[in-house]
Every structure is written in structure tokens, then in C-alpha cells.
Symmetry: C2
Subunit: 324 residues, 2 copies
């Protein structure tokens, strides 16, 4: 038996959330719904223009792990913070929900990463990320004590944007596969797909066991506007793919099967931040429990539905009650 159900490797980020108007995004030249990378100066300039903020730990895979831990899974995290106040907050929030996270914070170089999350009146989120200390993740950080002892290693596409992360991820994948453990991957963002399409295609075709993406991301991946055409290309490329479609729920794809699973009902959508991340929490929890795939998707949809009813991507309420 594995010591951990899921080892997550991702960017360690504190989200700075604020409500903004669409006009503000246009003024700033930011594509709505996207994640844009910004340097420290641009991050500070943009921050200065935002209204009242709320801070909450974030990071895509980190959010998924926090969700998984809340569901009852055993998880560990590989990611880099600096030893500053935001790094302390991120570390606390991971450990407080039971995620094993003991990488020492870096003492030099840029600050802990932050993500300016701008939530428009339609509850959509648009992000500007300063990667900061995340840029220092390297091969040396891929700890076999964690990766080899986890049933699933879960990796975010966003990592491809961090300086030394590509080699680190290649090492982690080889390490996991070397001991016959599974590898899960999320495409993260359409712009991220545009930047790294060739690498992502190679990973999906050769190394990934479970793929997470949303509709726009797989269309971007296969450079088509036709969802069914994208699905057709994806089918068979990797053993399991779970594709989220917002209010249309999600689609689970295997070589032999395509299952559509309707979205969970949501009383009021406040902020879509973390919807995809928490979908992955629910889905992976089901995988760990060896549920049939459609049930994995049902729990994924429920977790996603839960998180969009609040501000931020870390649940204020226990998720375990969603498992039923």
C-alpha cells in the first residue's frame, strides 16, 4: 500500500482576490478568464489599481490537494515558497488541512508567489500571477520519499512556465512510472496550452494516465473549435481524461467509453476560482477509492459546485460531507 494517495507538484501561490468590472480588464489589456504571467513590477502596478482584497492560499494542484485532504485522502505537496509572511500563510494552510508539506522555504531570491484574482460580476475569474519563489523548483526538489510512495503523482501544466520545473517534472514522471505508479496532469489554461502544446501532446500521448482539462483547453490543444473533434483526438491518447464544461458538467473519456455527467446544482455562484481544481479533488478521490469513473465525475462536479459558492479556492466548509 502507498503511504500517500496523491503527491501533488505545483506552484505554491497565495491568491489576492478582488471583485472588478469587465471594463477594468479591458483597460489593462487582460484576456478575461485567462491566467497571465506578470513580473514583480507589473504585479505591484496592477495590485495598486485593485479594490478591497481578500487573501487566500491558492495554486492549482495545491488547491486540489487541500480538497483531497478535506475529503479524507492522504496527500503530500512539492512546491516552493519563500520564508516570508505569504509563504508562512501558504504553508500553514496546507498543513492545517492535513497535506504533508515540509519543503524548507527558500531564503533568497524573489518573494512567495501571488496571484491577483479578478472576479467579474458574472463570477468568472481572471488571473495575473507573479511566480516569485516558484521559479526555483528544480530536479533536486523531486523527493523519491514522496513521489515513489504515492499512488498518484498529480502535476499542473502551469509548472511549465517556471524556470527549472520542466526538468523536475520529467524526473517526477520517470520516478513515478519507474515504480508503476500513476501520473495525472492538468492542462491548466488555454494560454498555457498555447505556450507548451508540443510538450503537452507528447506527455498525453506517452506518459499521462489521467488527464484533466476544460473544454477550451482541449480545443486549444488540438487547435480546433469543434469539441467533438477534440474529444475524438483525445480518445485513446491517454487512458482516462476528465473534461469539465462549467454548467454542462463534465465528460469522462476512455478508449471504450464517453460518459457525460451533469453538473451539481449550485445555489449562488460567487466566484469560479478553483472550480477545475476542486473537480480534480473529487475525481481523484474517487479514483483512489477505486470507484467507477462516472462516480468519480459526480464527486468532482459536487466539489466544483461547492467551491464556486464562496470566495477563494480553499473550502471554508468540510468537503467530506459531499461523499455519499
Amino acid at each position: 500500500m502507498s503511504k500517500f494517495d496523491v503527491c501533488g507538484i505545483g506552484n505554491a501561490i497565495v491568491d489576492i482576490l478582488s471583485f472588478t468590472e469587465e471594463a477594468f480588464l479591458a483597460e489593462q489589456g487582460i484576456a478575461k478568464g485567462s491566467m497571465q504571467l506578470v513580473d514583480e513590477t507589473r504585479s505591484a502596478q496592477l495590485y495598486e489599481k485593485l479594490g478591497q482584497t481578500t487573501e487566500c492560499s491558492g495554486g492549482s494542484v495545491a488547491n486540489s490537494l487541500a480538497g483531497l485532504a478535506g475529503l479524507g485522502a492522504r496527500t503530500c505537496f512539492i512546491g516552493k515558497v519563500k520564508g516570508d509572511q505569504l509563504g508562512t500563510i501558504f504553508t500553514h494552510d496546507m498543513r492545517s488541512v492535513g497535506v504533508h508539506f515540509d519543503m524548507p522555504p527558500v531564503t533568497e531570491g524573489p518573494a512567495t508567489a501571488n496571484c491577483l484574482v479578478m472576479v467579474t460580476p458574472d463570477a468568472q475569474r481572471t488571473m495575473a500571477t507573479f511566480l516569485g519563489a516558484c521559479g526555483s523548483v528544480s530536479e533536486a526538489d523531486i523527493d523519491p520519499f514522496l513521489v515513489e510512495r504515492s499512488a498518484i503523482t498529480y502535476i499542473e501544466g502551469y509548472l511549465w512556465d517556471a524556470e527549472h520545473a520542466k526538468a523536475a517534472i520529467r524526473k517526477a514522471i520517470a520516478m513515478a512510472r519507474g515504480v508503476r505508479k500513476r501520473v495525472a496532469f492538468t492542462l491548466s489554461d488555454t494560454f498555457c496550452v498555447e505556450r507548451h502544446r508540443a510538450d503537452f501532446l507528447q506527455l498525453i500521448n506517452e506518459e499521462i494516465d489521467i488527464l484533466f482539462a476544460n473544454e477550451a483547453e482541449i480545443k486549444a490543444l488540438y487547435q480546433t473549435d469543434d469539441f467533438d473533434a477534440a474529444l475524438a483526438k483525445l480518445r485513446g491518447a491517454c487512458p482516462v481524461a476528465a473534461i469539465t464544461r462549467s454548467e454542462k458538467g463534465s465528460v469522462v473519456l476512455t478508449k471504450d467509453d464517453v460518459e457525460e455527467v451533469p453538473a451539481a446544482s449550485v445555489p449562488e455562484v460567487v466566484d469560479t476560482t478553483g472550480a477545475g481544481d476542486l473537480y480534480a479533488s473529487g475525481f481523484l478521490f474517487g479514483i483512489v477509492q477505486e470507484w467507477d469513473l462516472p462516480y468519480c465525475a459526480v464527486l468532482g462536479n459536487r466539489c466544483a459546485g461547492k467551491i464556486i459558492g464562496q470566495l477563494g479556492a480553499r473550502s471554508n466548509e468540510p468537503l467530506a460531507q459531499l461523499v455519499a
Copy 2:
């Protein structure tokens, strides 16, 4: 005409909010509903035991000013942060809503203050505050450019706990009164009243024009369990007193009159953090507009009702729509 409607003097604090069970407070020996002062070590120990957190700027008078600014008042703030990440967040959040705040952050000594806000399932908040950089507020910080040009100077009782603040407050009060401006004051907390009763009584009897308190605080002030007896003692001691009573609304007291104003309706109470602070926002906004006192209390109740429907004491939605 004054340049500012309200000059606030208070502790500059970032709140670290988390949901906890009542049993946790008991284990930690913390009186539910209170604000307890803790040193840096105790703050860190307690933080480590908390679950998932959300960070949001706080501080009692600072919250009131943010609310006032959101209602459309011209406000300025006197308080101390350090030049660290939490200090940057606090400063941003004040300025972003339009509060004039340009005191330079301190560069040495303890970190920016934080308040661990523990929200129990009944939505009550219990607080452990590390005052940090707030301890350095001194007479030199009382800027006549701000105090003398504000129609009202608003001061929190909590300040009495900060090292050099007492002399600073005395100076601010004398400065405001010297130019015939009004002074408003909040008792802040029952334990704070216990610590500083003699000073608070003297202030109320001699220096304060508008007093804010809740029911428990005026009972503590006059050492009685009888609300009406406390009201009777307070009447005539200061020109205007606005006493909040949670779901019973508020009572406005003058020499000649006692008016009870029912609470605003609240769909769901999530977190009572900031209820009293936002009551003061609404009430002072009415005072600035020269409304009759019961109308001031109506807006106070509405602002309080608004803030307890969300997590944290800074409104995620514009408050101006409550003025009608």
C-alpha cells in the same frame, strides 16, 4: 468646511479568519466573543492550531473608515504598519477604498499586527490579537493636518492597550476639541473596558461627543447586569451614545431622548466580525450628513446587517446602495 468627514485613529491589523469549534476555544482557554491580546509567540502557537484561513484587512476603526469611504464619506486614518507583506496588504486595502492613509510604514521592530479571528458555528467571532507594529503609535503621529481638518475624530478603545497610544489619543482629543471638532469613541470590548474603566469613564464624562458601545460593554463600564440601569447612568454623561444589541438592533441615547431602532433583516449570518465597526460606519455617515439620530441608527443597522452576511469585516460589495 472640513477637508475630511472623519479622521480615524486605531490599530492597523490584518485579520486571519478561520472557522473553529467552540471546544477549541475552551481547550485554549479563550473567552468566546472576546478580544484577547497575545504576544508573537502565543500568536504563532495558536495560528499553528487553526484550520484553513482567509486573510482580510481589519482593525476596528480601520474597518469603520473603509465602510464610511464605501458609503461616500471623506476619511483619513492614523495607524502604524510595518513595511512587510501584511503591512502592504493593509495599506492597499485602505487606499483602494479611498481612505487617505500615508503614514510611512515602520522599518524596525515587530511585524504588522495580526488578529486571529476564530469564527464558531454560531457565526460569533473570538479574537486573539498580536499588536506588533501598532505598539509604536505615539504623540508624534498625531498629525494636525489630519485631525484639525476632520469634522469628527474617531478613536477606538483598543488603542489604550498599545504602548504609547494613550498620550497620543489625549493629544488628538485636545487637538480636535481645540478647533471645536467632534470626538467619537468606541469602548471596543468588555475586557478592554475592564482594563481601562477609569480612563474610559473620564473620557465619556468630559471629552467624548459620540460614544459607540454594545450592551455588554456599557454593562461592564458601569459594573451592572441591568441594561436599563447602565443606560440611565450613560444618559447625560455624553451628548450622543449609540448602543448596539445584536438582533435587537440599537438604542440611541441623548440627554432628552431614548430611541430604539430595530435591526435590519439579514438573510444568513456567516461571520459577525465587523458588525459593530460597520454599525459605526453607517451611524457616523448619517451624522456627517446631519440626519436625525434614528436615521443614523437605521443606516448603522443596515451596514452591520450587510457585513455579517460575509466572511471578514471589509465589505465585498458597495455599501452606498444601503443609503436610501
